[in-house]
Symmetry: C2
Amino acid sequence: MAESAASQQAQPVRESFGSRLAAAMLERGPLCVGIDPHPQLLADWGLNDDVAGLERFSLTVVEAVASLAAAVKPQVALYERHGSAGMAVLERVLAASAEAGVLSIADAKRGDIGSTMAAYADAWLRDGSSLAADSVTLSPYLGFESLRPALDLAAQYGRGVFVLALTSNPEGKSVQHVGGEQSVARRIVSAAAAENQRYEGVLGSVGLVVGATIGSALTDLDIELGPVRGAILAPGLGAQGATPADLRATFADAYPQVLATSSRGILAAGPSAAALRDAAEETLAGLRS
Amino acid sequence: MAESAASQQAQPVRESFGSRLAAAMLERGPLCVGIDPHPQLLADWGLNDDVAGLERFSLTVVEAVASLAAAVKPQVALYERHGSAGMAVLERVLAASAEAGVLSIADAKRGDIGSTMAAYADAWLRDGSSLAADSVTLSPYLGFESLRPALDLAAQYGRGVFVLALTSNPEGKSVQHVGGEQSVARRIVSAAAAENQRYEGVLGSVGLVVGATIGSALTDLDIELGPVRGAILAPGLGAQGATPADLRATFADAYPQVLATSSRGILAAGPSAAALRDAAEETLAGLRS
């Protein structure tokens, strides 16, 4: 598999993820709809907390927002908690997203080293894998460079990654803010910027996860996101507390790179597809104005 | 689900993971056999890189070493790369391990926040989940405390966790060594020590992942593992470069807590079950002497 992969490297099988995402954001606006089939949301929709409920919920969201959102982001943990049968639902959700013409971000937060990291890359980024998504979120506790197999496989297949950088949960500071002027988060951001130099166009294919509600952390840690030239996946819009105005204030010059993620704020409007669409359109209008 | 879980908190459903692991290490010795069905190993065993090969490989290892090893550690990425069908094989491997009487460590390196972290805990640590293992590895980029839902569910169900602390891959330093006297790795180790105060006995149920080939990093970062009172899962024995003597030198006073993990060093002896057993016994003898 490694050899045939290498021989394909010269001719990408599709446009880069960064280019495809930039085009989608330009055409549709900067909204990513999180698909989070939490037990409580399933109950609110009148669905059981089982595989059938999971599938009904997820496919309803995909169908409702596929023509409006730049991307959808299924939360992998919520499929994994239903075991292999839940992961099979996720495979169908990713396939349905591709068929409906909306980019997918598998929110998996995977991370490992060497041949194990290569196996995660294989799962989420390789053509022919049943779990292949347009992009996947990664966790860099083992170092940004430990993610190399995914960075390279993404480039080869026109897929992308979003690396955890700076999150808004209070306990995140005990790792991400450590290190003074050369904080852990700042190092991750710099590494992503360097990595995106391999890409042409407005956005490279290496994005970052930066919480929408981080407040002044970017300034505090002297982090500039503009030079990253990658999309900023910013969870926290809507039910989790951030307004579009907060996003503009927090990200300032880097706002054009921000892919704002709303989950519960939109999902709570279900199960009606029309109501989900209305909620997504309203959120988009707020992001554009 | 949450309510019935809370009502069970008073009466643990089984002995704590730390107690069960300490008993297994005392009785059998400190060996964990990694189950790493890499494509190359499958080929070496004359198996296809498909779901059938994955299952045959994994169950052969479980059967061969279940009565010798203190634990087995399936590498989740190598199942996930086969999609949901691969995860179904993992479910059977975890069930077979339990049936054969060997503790399981799902090497998943999961990590997230809030209700998403709770969903990962649900997947790997809840009774009734098809992916439930005796323990799971976790990644703390979002802060040790972000792992709270898993720490608490593990305590409730007599299961355990191993939190990534200090790894031997060179790129790990750019996160784990950052912060001078209060390095990221040192903070994770301290947090695990505090968490294990909720447990009685020799070992608490919160272990750490510390690479077998970290050299002098513990001294350099002024990290003491003894006070953690948790098992130290130390990958890197055998094919990856560390000898039992290296382990004793690296971990010094904390050596009795070390659960040495050998994967390829033992797996390369397959597919003969007798040869796998011999390799595991030889490794154990080296660890004991």
